[in-house]
Amino acid sequence: MPRHRNSGRPRAHWSIFALALTALVVTLFVDDFARETGGGTVSPGKTEIVDGGSAVDGPIIHPSTRAERLPARTVALTFDDGPDPVWTPRILDALRRHHARATFFVVGAQVNKHPELVRRIVAEGHQLGLHSFTHRDLTTMSEPRRRLEFELTRNAVAHATGQDVRLFRPPYLASPAKVDRTALDLIEDAGRAGYTTVLADRDTTDWRRPTAATIANRAMPPSTAGAIVLMHDGGGDRSATVDALDLLLPRLAAQGRVVTTIGAPEATPASGQAKAQGAVFAVVQRGAGWTRTGMFWLMIFATALAGTRMAIQAVSAWRHARRRRKNPLSPYAVPVSVIVPAFNESANIVATVRSLLASTQADVEIIVVDDGSTDGTADLVEALDEPTVRVLRRPNGGKASALRAGVAAARHDILVLIDGDTIVEPDTIEMLVRSFADPAVGAVAGNAKVANRRGVIGRWQHLEYVVAFNLDRRVFEMADCMTTVPGALGGFRRAALEAAGGVRSDTLAEDTDLTMAIVRAGWRVVYDDMACAWTEAPGTWSGLWRQRYRWCYGTMQAMWKHRRALVEKGPAGRFGRRGLGYVGAFQILQPLLAPIIDVYLVYALLFRPPGLVALLWLGLHAAQLAVAAYAFRLDKEPAGPLWSLPLLQIGYRQLIYLVTIQSAVTALAGTGLRWHASTRTGHAAALDASAATSDPKAARTRELVRQLRLGLYRDPRWARWSFRAGLVLVLLSGSAWVGGTLVTGRYAGAVARDDLLGDAAAYHVAPDGWSLDKALNILLIGVDWRKGQTGMIRSDTVMVLHVPRAKDRAYLFSLPRDTIVDIPPLPETGFRGGRDRLNSSFAYGAGLDQDRAQGGRLLAATVRKLTGLPGLDAAVLIDFYGFSDVVKALGGLRVCVDADTRSIHTGRVFPAGCRRMTGDEAIDFLRQRKTVKGSDYGRQHNQQQFIASIAAEAKRQNLAANPVKLDALLRAAGSAMTVTTGPAEPIDLVFALRGIDPGRVTMLRTPGHGRHDGARNYLGEALDPAAFELFRAVREEKLPQFVAAHPDLVSGSFAAQ
């Protein structure tokens, strides 16, 4: 051992290890904090809107809470969520083209990522404002957290530009009209901190990605009053915003408006402290980002490493087993010397020698080398008085020295070296030596099994021996690069020992050192899995730690000692590059990376949404289980202990990599390590049934393993059938899950989703109480629009499907399209509201851009106002022309015509009576209004009938039994619809409605009458009082009573179809 001061195992590195892990976790949290959540605006919060207060009279709210507006004919363009490396430069270019200046409300985390863009914004004369550091909702934050957001952003801007900016815009708050109580608190807080809050007069909602024309239209102020316009330069694809500027700015210039910045308060020079703090956090953020990226790639690398090892193990093991099957080894009758070095092995030595004496191999001499034992080991062996057993007594000199003495004393050329606590099977020696029939074989590794498998530590070591050690030995044999013949059980040819220079004492892993030397000397070293022996593994954590420390450090010593093999030629070079490379990558590097991976994995699984990390982790464990099961099968071990394989990740795996770190530091520091003898408990000896302290359960395990190994064992029938049944269940449920996911994904993906309800949605009005379990009101909108058609789109059909809470029936009623209604204003399009026909509301909303979602939102608001419903739960927009594909998929539809009808569009005549129509015919018939009996009311009835016919036809054809047709129908239906289901998925809504009996869907007529002026000109429809009773019945969920009182309003039911 070295003579310098403070020699002994190094310990200080654990402090650095703990510090490194802490720094890693904190850095990951910082990176997580700095990742913004995106841009856009949301609906008003839950609290009441503050109305009419002085603080929100205008969009610019000063620290004194005095609000003001921009001067007349002044427009301030503002851009939120940047700087973005793609869109901010393009927006700056567009502004420069039109000689306009704007105000950029920047996100602090983005400023730190792209300080050069912020400097460009300032250099080109634009104004900066703060938009929080992480773009999270500041109204929900505590005071310190809010202060952090303000300060980090301010410091980031100070560092990037040298400016102290005091303009502020809160995320998720665009308009003074949407300021509620919590938002006002935030604005007042910001004011107290010296910030001027800037909201907007016109929200282009460009984050929804409408067309450039729509954005430009929304940005245009409707009057000469000054206006602040909200747009975005970050948080997503802003190409439409860029294009909109080229439309908007010339228009503003043509109207003589001045496009300018917000103005006061102007930025002032930042203090040195702010700049310094900004610089520091910019470094921290950048470092955290690099750390996360590095960790991610390290995790990918470690996963690839683990996957590669498993693949190599699986393939090599398969090839090794196949080779053994194709070339079975024959018995090899040859005299054998068994050498047993022993130091204080009184607990096991007698059982060990007895098991050797029971060997089936003829001519075996047994030499027990007592290495200075103090517990009477040598006496116990001599007391056996066996003629074939010799005892060599010597002063303690270490295991290597004892082995050298035993080898020197042995008479035969084939030597078997085993440990003093190893119990062999009767056929172990015979199995081990049969490989020596091949004169090229210099050594044979036996299959050491853990005797003390009960208890967590023993069971985990058993798993490790079978899965890791034995699989690796198969890999090494196939690659001709065996690294370790275990000291517990190994066979050697004397010539190979001599060529390797014998057993040496300069490493603590003399078995590894010896094996490497033999391979380098050109001898083949093989592994015989049938040569089994039982050995005692450490039963305590400290014992395991000491053993693995010695093994790991000893392996490192051996690897370093034989490092020249990396560049040698021939068998030595093959060993060096394959064997040392494998051990270096998978037994040294992989455990050294493991603590970092563990930290990242735990952090990602606990604090990030499940994604790639969870997938990799699960995939790796599934692969590990599969490889382990294969290893158990190859070793003919009962598969029971496999259940605890996942638990290896907690505790055992950590011990192994901590041992590797300790060994590496010990090796680097050069302090050396002493041999530490394990305390024997006699667990191995207990396998001997004749021993005084036998362990019956362990003995039964040994017998079971022997029977499995010899192919004498068969699982009980109940176990075989349970396993098969379980496998079938797993396959069925797995297939059902995969199939279900694929199917729902296929159809869910076919349906377009958009927001057709806006503020009329029930889940916006009362978000806390909303769910699909209550009574539902679903808006159905039919549009008569062909793709490519220009002009305004009007809704042709407006229906409401009311589904009571029990979900066993439904009521369907239409709203006449010409009903004169109050249509609410829609600021986005400049529509100020008014009184017009119901179907016009969709047109006003959609506008010339044919924005159907916007049309739906205005129509929904109008319907809500008309019916007094608190909110609508879902909406479906149906494209009539697309729906003809549905009819085609059904192979036609049975439609009943009340009276002869002529199509004004195609000239086709539909005679009275029921007949089967094609898709085109059905749609043509549905479009008719003027020539239909009852006019619009007649058409409503026809449309309701159309929906009923589809349901009836689908039921009649029993589509569940015809998956091909069902697939075509669902995909056709999906492509013809746009749906809004709010927080729920469309599939959830379909599932919620599955219990509706088609025979209990009642179609209701909404009573009304036409209005005419004095000249008999038609002015539209007015609803009768009974219609409003109908609406009240819907609101109060008293439709059954209403239907009973108004049977004349029942126009039919699905059951009649």
Partner: protein, 71 residues
């Protein structure tokens, strides 16, 4: 029995061997002079200082930014 010096211990055992194959060797990695250990200590100290400094940087900047009156 006379006390045997550690460096000779191996050799004494070898004399008992009827066939001496190789004399015992100096253990691999062991640094008798201690120069490697000193280098490891210095390196470890530097790493520790860097890690502690990094942590301190993060904690200080967050505490300063969220301190009342820092605005």
């Amino acid at each position: 029995m006379a006390k045997i010096a550690p460096e000779l211990r191996g050799k004494m055992n070898d004399l008992n061997d009827t066939r001496r194959l190789r004399p015992s060797q100096k253990p691999v990695f062991v640094d008798w002079r201690g120069s490697r250990r000193r280098a490891v200590v210095i390196g470890g100290t530097l790493i520790g200082v860097v890690l502690a400094g990094w942590l301190g940087l993060i904690v200080t900047s967050i505490v300063l930014a969220s301190w009342p009156g820092s605005v």
